[in-house]
């Protein structure tokens, strides 16, 4: 275990590339759990966070589950076998407490977030921001009026310590540690993320945002998010993610649990732009009680391998679940994404629209699960999977597992695969567009109808990210 050393010399080495997230300032860390995973590492994390014994036990139990579970390589991809858990650093932080003004954020970290445009977005359109740098949030702030209304927006450490009556009830319940190997890993070493509570009837008009930044190489980021929207409340939460380009693999493995109580609405928006060496293995699930709505908007751009299947358990009568997802697999990348809809009450409806784009040797896979048991009635699901292939080497697969029983339920499933042909590219280039511009126009055209559903600020960002990706993919 590394000693706590705050006096490391500060070096500033800036590596810049075109893509916005790809730069890095050298950092020193006050807290470092060292390299590799063990019971000792888990205890170190728990200790620096001064956690209560039940959390420490929860972590240790999860570690045992993790050790006992096999890699899910049999159904996904053998690339997972390339993750060397013993080479990863599980906890790196500059401090334990997020500050409330950007002025207090250490200069180098602040510079990073300024380049990513976070303070600017906060001023423009956000109700609250949390900025996480490697393992811990360095900045966290919410508008005062929301605080007065009783909205809670903090990290898991503070959430479990200061508001156990609210968060403990749901923590690890939507996604138990044993859900899958990576959920177990997160449960053992989680740090950072957001714990949010929206009181009854409170409708938060502007989004709350978290920004997850990986800065260190050979590092694993394991944030944990739990959002509870009490009866009749509404909230939109957005997360952004970036990391610089690394030579070696880096791991991002989050767990996100959403709870929408009676009549509540949660919209969760992700725009990730991971660099090409990040394994992104995330478990996301929401519970929707009676008349409630959970909506995942999930944009997966970049990463080496993403495996992510946001789900909704429709537990109350009339609940609604939705997943709108866009995945872009560029050369050498694999986006294994999808959605799960578990209908567990009458009159529940779910909607899945998944669009994937595969470029060059990129590969995208849609993996879906829709479950409606026989005992239910008036349940509906609509699933649409559209894939766009740019050039011959790219690949797409669709595995829509739909188990719908009973006469009184309905499903509708549509899938399409289309190609951007060489003739289309030539046609656009004949009008003066470069190959990259032509491809991004075609891709933006493909995702356009879905992007219209997104909050405006995010559709602009997404469009720009697609342009960057397409420019980069032209040889």
């Amino acid at each position: 275990m590394a000693e706590i050393d705050e006096n490391l010399a500060q070096r500033e080495a800036i590596e810049v590339d075109r893509s916005k997230g790809d730069f890095k300032y050298e950092e020193s860390y006050a807290f470092d759990a060292g390299i590799g995973l063990s019971a000792g590492v888990v205890d170190y994390i728990s200790k620096v966070k001064a956690e209560e014994p039940w959390i420490r036990e929860f972590r240790q139990k999860a570690l045992k589950i993790f050790d006992g579970l096999p890699m899910p390589t049999h159904w996904a991809t053998t690339d997972l076998d390339n993750i060397k858990f013993e080479n990863i650093r599980y906890y790196l932080a500059k401090g334990q407490k997020a500050v409330r003004t950007w002025e207090e954020v250490p200069d180098d970290v602040k510079k990073t977030f300024e380049r990513l445009g976070i303070p600017e977005s906060e001023r423009k359109f956000l109700a609250g921001v949390e900025a996480q740098f490697d393992s811990e949030a360095v900045y966290s702030r919410m508008k005062e009026e929301l605080e007065k209304l009783g909205v809670i927006f903090c990290g898991p450490t503070e959430g479990l310590r200061d508001h156990p009556e609210i968060f403990r009830k749901w923590f690890g319940k939507v996604i138990p540690a044993g859900d899958n190997k990576f959920a177990a890993l997160n449960s053992a070493v989680f740090s950072g993320g957001s714990f949010i509570y929206i009181p009854k009837g409170v409708k938060v008009a502007q989004p709350l945002q978290a920004y997850f930044r990986i800065n260190a190489e050979n590092f694993g980021q394991f944030e944990r998010t739990l959002i509870i929207a009490d009866e009749g409340s509404e909230v939109t939460y957005m997360e952004g993610c970036t990391a610089p380009k690394f030579e070696t693999a880096t791991l991002h493995s989050a767990v996100v649990e959403l709870v929408a109580l009676k009549g509540a609405k949660i919209q969760y928006v992700t725009v990730q732009n991971w660099s090409a060496n990040v394994f992104n293995l995330v478990t996301k699930r929401g519970v929707a009680e009676e008349g409630a709505e959970v909506r995942w908007i999930d944009c997966n751009i970049g990463s080496r391998l993403t495996m992510k299947y946001p789900g909704v358990v429709l537990r109350g009568k009339g609940a609604r679940g939705e997943v709108l997802s866009i995945a872009l697999a560029n050369d050498g990348q694999h986006q294994d994404t999808g959605a799960k809809m578990i209908h567990a009450a009458d009159d529940t409806t779910s909607n899945i629209i998944a669009k994937s784009i595969s470029v060059g040797s990129g590969r995208s896979t849609y993996r879906g699960l829709v479950h409606i048991p026989k005992t239910l009635k008036n349940c509906r699901n609509n699933t649409e999977c559209d894939a766009l292939l740019i050039n011959e080497h790219s690949r797409t697969d669709t595995y829509p597992a739909i188990s719908v029983r009973g006469q009184k339920n309905s499903v509708q499933h549509e899938a399409s695969v289309s190609k951007v042909s060489a003739e289309q590219i030539f046609y656009m280039m004949q009008r003066g567009l470069s190959e990259g511009e032509a491809m991004s126009l075609a891709v933006n055209g493909f995702v356009n109808d879905l992007v219209k559903e997104f909050p405006m600020e995010y559709s602009v960002e997404l469009k720009r990210l697609i342009e960057l990706q397409m420019e980069g993919s032209v040889g």
Binding site: S418, S421, A422, E423, Q424, F426, Y427, M428, M429, Q430, R431, G432, L433, S434, E435, E437, A438, L441, A442, N444, G445, F446, V447, N448, D449
Partner: protein
Amino acid sequence: MPDSLVIKNLNASIGERPILKDFCLTVPKGEVHAIMGPNGTGKSTLSKVLAGHPDYTVQSGSALLDGEEILGLEPDVVARAGLFLAFQYPSEIPGVTIANFIRAAIVARQAKGTPFDAKAYYAELYAKMDALKMDRKFTARFVNEGFSGGEKKRCEILQLMMLKPKYAVLDETDSGLDIDALRIVSEGVNRMRGPDTGFLVITHYQRLLEYIVPDRVHIMWDGRIVHSGGKELALELEAKGYDWVKTELASA
């Protein structure tokens, strides 16, 4: 010749098969030249080779646009150098509206960072659509998707009018147009005629050339121009067909 499109001894093939054979043609700015010729003689091939289509191989020859070689350049570079091709079979671009497409093409021609004047753009776009009797609702439709044959051709001419190239190759723009549309589209082209633009009009029918009156008419046969003349040559072809060309070639 600086103010011309000069094609000299152009040999091009698709795969192993030669299509253009020592093709020569000069189109000076300000003139309209028509190419007529039987199916499969290489008219569309010529237009695509000029535009830099990757499927064709150029063995030898040159094509100078105002003195600059365009063979071997990327298609977008040729386009921005001032060559526009109205396609015989325009591609569909799903999800991309006409307005956004033409806008992107204009932006691609501007220096990076030039602010885009959206108001002026739409004013011009609407004016040109009105001239082509295109419903303004078309701006929101996806490029060529679900268009009728005639609508596609009109959309090509709209792009031509918006992009104002130095040289335009119109590949069978008249096919698929009804009689009224033929007149409207021709008027659009005629309005663009002037000292700054040269046209190469590929057609099978004399009718188009009644509206867009050419300065020169060329007959293409087996990959090259075999006969050139004034506008009356088109009338002659219409009356006699291509057989006499064959006979003439055989005796030559």
